[in-house]
Amino acid sequence: MASIQINNLRKTYDGGVQAVKGVSIDIKDGEFIVLVGPSGCGKSTLLRMVAGLETITDGELFIGDRLVNTIEPADRDIAMVFQNYALYPHMTVYNNLAYGLKNRGFAKAEIGKRVRKAAEILEIGEYLERKPRQLSGGQRQRVAMGRAIVRDPAAFLFDEPLSNLDAKLRVQMRLEIRKLQKELGTTSLYVTHDQLEAMTLADRLVVLSGGEVEQIGSPIDVYEKPASTFVATFIGSPAMNLLPLSKDDNNWKLDNSAVVDVKLSTDLAELTLGVRPEDLVIEELSEKFDTGLHTALKVTAVEPVGAESYVHGTIGEGSVDIVVRAPGKLHFEPGQILKVTAKPDKLHTFDMLTGKRIELQGTLEIA
């Protein structure tokens, strides 16, 4: 077990693609870090640099207190779980688990002991003599995990390990991975593009975009205080509503036209206002808040998703789409006008140009 220190790591591929542009993360011993971001943002590249499968263009990588930039993957004391499992197809499950130990010169008895222990933890004991193709996707996934844990490494690396499983199994395995990691206390770095997986697994989330870190923080922090409009729309589903506002004679206007009733004390003349769909309330259905945001929504569609409904609509001159997440099965006609409102502490403000979060001092004045 060890900490991992990533100092200003960069990766430029041969073709000149800058996949990772200076990423720094301090991973504490035993921490579960999830790298999340859209496709092509450099998650896998970063993980593979930590594994040693990709050379490091620039920066420093410490595992424990050892600088491992040029150390062979096998000597970094890490284990990796691949998206497509990468089990050796011609070896039995037992040999798949034992292979890394054999290569490291462990004694037969010790190998047997470790494999059986790992098999017991993962409940794959009865499949030890089978070949990978005789296993279901979920069982293969467990074997892949087993191959990582038998080695008792300093860190686990996961590259989208659950994306080949069906939705139900994914939820189950997610919980198991979390539980296993807590029991073993092994430092873990986990890559996913699924924000729900990221939220539920992580001690801390690292949101990446275009090869750079957008935000590092606990899932709740990232959710409640997104550092940028990118994070705000990436984490949470449906995505946070963003309203581009500009000030004109002390009125906030949307697209320089429709007046939006919101009280913000700031000198800025322009900003992006963010509000999550679940923080918007339809006045007709519940109370109206005195302060905060008040606006009128023209319904375009209603999506019932069981316990709640997503009400889609436009505000202002019809140029800005927003979503309201409201409990219950709702029926509204397209074209119907609804009054929606949000509490002042549920509003997020971002710099319109850079997209970075701005904390307004004493955010909202009482009306």
């Binding site: 284990a79 990468a86 197809p89 011609h90 292979y99 290569n103």
Partner: protein, 283 residues
């Protein structure tokens, strides 16, 4: 097919039966001819049912050196030669092409693509095309009338390298990466993972190359002068060429029959391995 149409299944059976007859009839005639005496084979109509001289003919073919006044290698010897040559070619080719395909696919070295294309170009130059220069080289190296001379020029060719390259390219990169993390160096990866995964390819190639080596005619004819280096295929041809004498069809056919056995055996044995390989491995 899930459909069951009597007419269709009847006609497909007819076609299959015709096919089997077309393939099996010559073999049957060979077998029948090998069981009669020389005299019987010169009388028309030719027999269609086996005679009683099988063992006699077999013994004569395998062990007699005298054949219509000329000395030749007894068939057991030429069979052994053929076997040594066919096995050397098959095994030599497989070993060399496995290694060169491994180098081309998994290592980045200067001139990698140059080497690949150089190997690839030799595909266009089979032995028959480069026969004179090759003969010159072999003669200068003093390899005439030796197993080296008989096999080495036939081992050097690109088909198998090319095939293994394609096979290796289908092995997912993650397997290599997983093996690297598991502490396997390049040779261990080759031995523990790549080789077992290529089993079916190796078996298929062995069958093809063994038959290829077994059936070589022109090259052995060119570089062997001593009768004890002759191959069985050459023997058959020579038996047909005895001048001023009627060919001894029973003996020739017996030799053909014997010469057919090893390739058949290889196909049958390897086929079991193939099927097993096909069922067991998956990439």
């Amino acid at each position: 097919m899930i459909e069951r149409r009597p007419l269709l299944s009847f006609s497909s059976h007819v076609i299959m039966v015709i096919g089997i007859i077309a393939v099996a009839l010559p073999v049957w005639i060979t077998f029948v001819a090998a069981t009669h005496t020389t005299e019987r084979m010169l009388v028309s109509p030719l027999p269609l049912l086996p005679g009683t001289h099988f063992w006699e003919n077999l013994k004569m073919v395998l062990f007699t050196q005298e054949f219509l006044g000329t000395t030749r290698a007894p068939v057991w010897l030429s069979m052994t030669n053929s076997l040594i040559i066919a096995l050397s070619i098959a095994i030599g080719k497989i070993v060399i092409s496995l290694l060169s395909a491994f180098a081309i696919v998994y290592f980045r070295f200067p001139g990698r693509m140059l080497f690949f294309w150089m190997i690839f170009i030799t595909l266009m130059l089979p032995v028959e095309v480069r026969i004179l220069p090759t003969f010159e080289v072999v003669a200068n190296l003093g390899m005439l009338d030796s197993y080296w001379g008989l096999t080495i020029p036939l081992i050097a060719s690109a088909t198998a390298t090319f095939m293994f390259r394609q096979a290796f390219l289908t092995v997912p990169d993650e397997l290599l990466e997983a093996a690297r993390l598991d502490g396997a160096g390049p040779l261990k990866f080759f031995w523990d993972i790549l080789l077992p995964l290529s089993r079916t390819n190796i078996a298929a190639l062995f069958v093809i190359l063994f038959t290829f080596g077994w059936n070589q005619y022109l090259w052995p004819l060119l570089i062997t002068t001593k009768t004890e280096m002759h191959t069985v295929v050459m023997s058959i041809k020579q038996m047909l060429e005895v001048a001023e004498a009627v060919p001894q069809w029973n003996i020739i056919m017996m030799t053909s029959l014997v010469a057919m056995l090893p390739p058949i055996l290889v196909v049958v044995l390897m086929q079991r391995l193939f099927v097993k390989g096909l069922v067991e491995s998956e990439k």
